[in-house]
Amino acid sequence: MKKIGIADRLLLLGTGVLAAYQVAVGIEGLELLPIICYTVGFGALLVSGLLLMILGFEILGSPITVIVSTLIPLSLSLGLIVEYLPRFTGIYLVFSVAGFLIVAISRYTLHGKGAAMVLAPIHGIAGLLLFGLPIWLVLQGSLASGFVMVGIGGALMGVGGLLLSFLKAGRPILSQTAILSVLPALFFLTTTAFIYGFAQV
C-alpha cells in the first residue's frame, strides 16, 4: 500500500485545522440541534483527518473508517434538514440514528455484499441530500449562490466514497496508488468547499 508522504500529511493537517475552525467559529449563532449535527460532522472530519495523518492509509481498511465516514454525511445532511427543511427533522433524525447504528452493526456482523448493500442506500441518501439540497436552496433563491459550495463539497465527498467503495469491492475505478494519491487533496478540498459554502449564509 502507498506510504503516506509529507504533502499528504500537510493536506490532512490542513483538513483538521479547517474542520476545527468550523467547529469553533463557523457554526456560532445557530440553534442547538444544528450545532450538534455540524459539530459531529466536522468533528468526525477533524478526528479522521488526524488519524489518517498519524496512522497512514492502512486504517482505510478498518471497519471503523466506514462507520466514521458514514457519520460525516449523515450528520451534515441532518444539520441541513434541521435548518432548512425543519418539518422533516423528526423523520430524518430517526433515519440518521437508525442508519448509523445499522451500518455500525453490519460492519461487524455482515461481510462482503451484505455489508455493502446495507451501506449503499444509507450513504446514498445522505450524500444526495448533502449534494442536492444546497443547490436546490440556491436555485429557489433562499440562500446566496456561494452556498452551492456545500453541495460541491458533498459531491467531492461522494467521489471519494465511490472511489474507496469500488476499491474495497475489488473493482477499482482507478489504481489503488492513484486513489490514495488524490485522497488527501480530495479530503482538503471537500472541507474547504463546505466551510466556504457555510460561510455564505
Binding site: 476545527a20 467547529v23 469553533a24 467559529v25 466536522f42 468533528g43 477533524l46 478526528v47 488519524l51 498519524i54
Partner: protein, 291 residues
C-alpha cells in the same frame, strides 16, 4: 567561521538531543497556555520572554539531569543507546554541569519574576529529577505518577504567573496533564517493552500486563479529558473552543477504548501520537482563547 560551524555542529549533535526538544516544546506550550488562560494582558513581550526563557531553562535543565542520571539505563536500551551520553560522545561531567546550570538559571529567573511562580517551577524540577528519576523510576512502575505531577507543573506555573496565586482551575489543568501522561508514557512503554525489560526498569506493562495497562490508559484518558474540560470551563473558555476540545477528547477516548477492545501495535502507536497532538491542540486553543 569554520570553528563556529564546527561548534554549532557539536552543539547540535551532542547537546541538542539532551533537552528532548519536542517534549520540552510541548511542556513550554502548556506553560504559555496556563499563563494566557489567566486572561491577564498576555501580549506583553517582556513577560512572555521571561516566562518562555525561565520555563525553557528549567524544563531543559531537568531533562538534561534525567539524561545524565539515566545514562546507564539508556546504554542498555536499543532505542537510546546512541544518545550522546551512553555512546560516549559527551562526558557525563559536562552534561551534569549543563543540567545544573540550566536548572539553576531557570529556577533563579523564575523566583526573580515571582516567588510563588519560582516555587512551582522548582517543585516541578524537584519532583521530576529527585522523586521520579533518582528515587522511584527504578523501583516501581508507579513512579510515572510523579513524572506526571512534574509534567503538570508548567501549566500551573504559567497560570500562577498570570494570577499571582494558585486556584482550582490551575489545579484542574495540572491534573489534566497528570492524567494525560499515562496515555503518553504507557503507550510508549508498551511499544518499547523489551527495551525497558532489558534495562530493568519496572513499567506498567511489565508489572501488570498489557491488558491492564490498556485499561489504565483508557481510564486516565477519560479523566484527562474531563479535567481539561473542567479547567477550560472554569476559566471561561469560549464555547466554540470548548466544542473543539470535546471533539478531540472523544477521539482520544475512543482510540483508548479501541486499544483495549482490539489491541494492536498500530492502534497503540496511533494513541501515543494522537495523545501528543491532543495536548498540543488543547493548549493552543487555551492560548488562542486568552489572546
Amino acid at each position: 567561521m569554520t570553528t563556529l560551524k564546527a561548534s554549532l555542529k557539536t552543539i547540535k549533535r551532542n547537546y541538542w538531543p539532551l533537552i528532548k526538544s519536542l517534549q520540552t516544546a510541548l511542556l513550554l506550550i502548556t506553560g504559555l497556555a496556563g499563563f494566557m488562560s489567566a486572561r491577564c494582558p498576555v501580549l506583553n513581550p517582556g513577560i512572555l520572554l521571561s516566562l518562555s526563557g525561565s520555563l525553557f531553562l528549567a524544563i531543559s535543565g531537568s531533562t538534561v539531569l534525567n539524561m545524565w542520571y539515566d545514562r546507564d539505563i539508556d546504554a542498555r536500551m536499543k532505542r537510546t543507546c546512541q544518545r550522546p551520553l551512553p555512546s560516549g560522545q559527551l562526558a557525563p561531567s559536562k552534561a551534569l554541569a549543563l543540567g545544573l546550570g540550566m536548572s539553576a538559571l531557570g529556577v533563579g529567573w523564575a523566583f526573580m519574576m515571582m516567588p510563588l511562580y519560582g516555587l512551582v517551577i522548582f517543585a516541578g524540577l524537584f519532583f521530576d529529577v529527585v522523586i521520579y528519576t533518582m528515587w522511584l523510576k527504578r523501583r516501581t512502575a508507579w513512579g510515572i505518577v510523579w513524572g506526571g505531577i512534574s509534567g503538570g507543573m508548567p501549566v500551573l506555573a504559567g497560570r500562577v504567573l498570570g494570577l499571582g496565586y494558585i486556584d482550582w482551575v490551575g489545579m484542574a489543568l495540572c491534573l489534566s496533564v497528570l492524567f494525560w501522561i499515562p496515555t503518553h508514557i504507557l503507550t510508549f512503554s508498551m511499544r518499547y517493552f523489551d527495551d525497558y525489560k532489558n534495562a530493568g526498569v519496572p513499567t506498567f506493562p511489565s508489572t501488570y500486563g498489557f491488558g491492564t495497562t490498556r485499561k489504565v490508559i483508557a481510564v486516565s484518558s477519560l479523566i484527562a479529558a474531563i479535567a481539561i474540560a473542567i479547567g477550560a470551563v472554569g476559566f471561561g473558555m469560549a464555547v466554540g473552543y470548548l466544542r473543539v476540545i470535546a471533539v478531540l477528547s472523544v477521539g482520544l477516548f475512543l482510540l483508548a477504548v479501541g486499544s483495549v477492545w482490539k489491541p494492536s501495535e498500530r492502534v497503540n502507536f496511533g494513541l501515543f501520537k494522537y495523545a501528543s497532538l491532543y495536548m498540543l491542540g488543547a493548549m493552543l486553543l487555551m492560548a488562542l482563547d486568552g489572546m
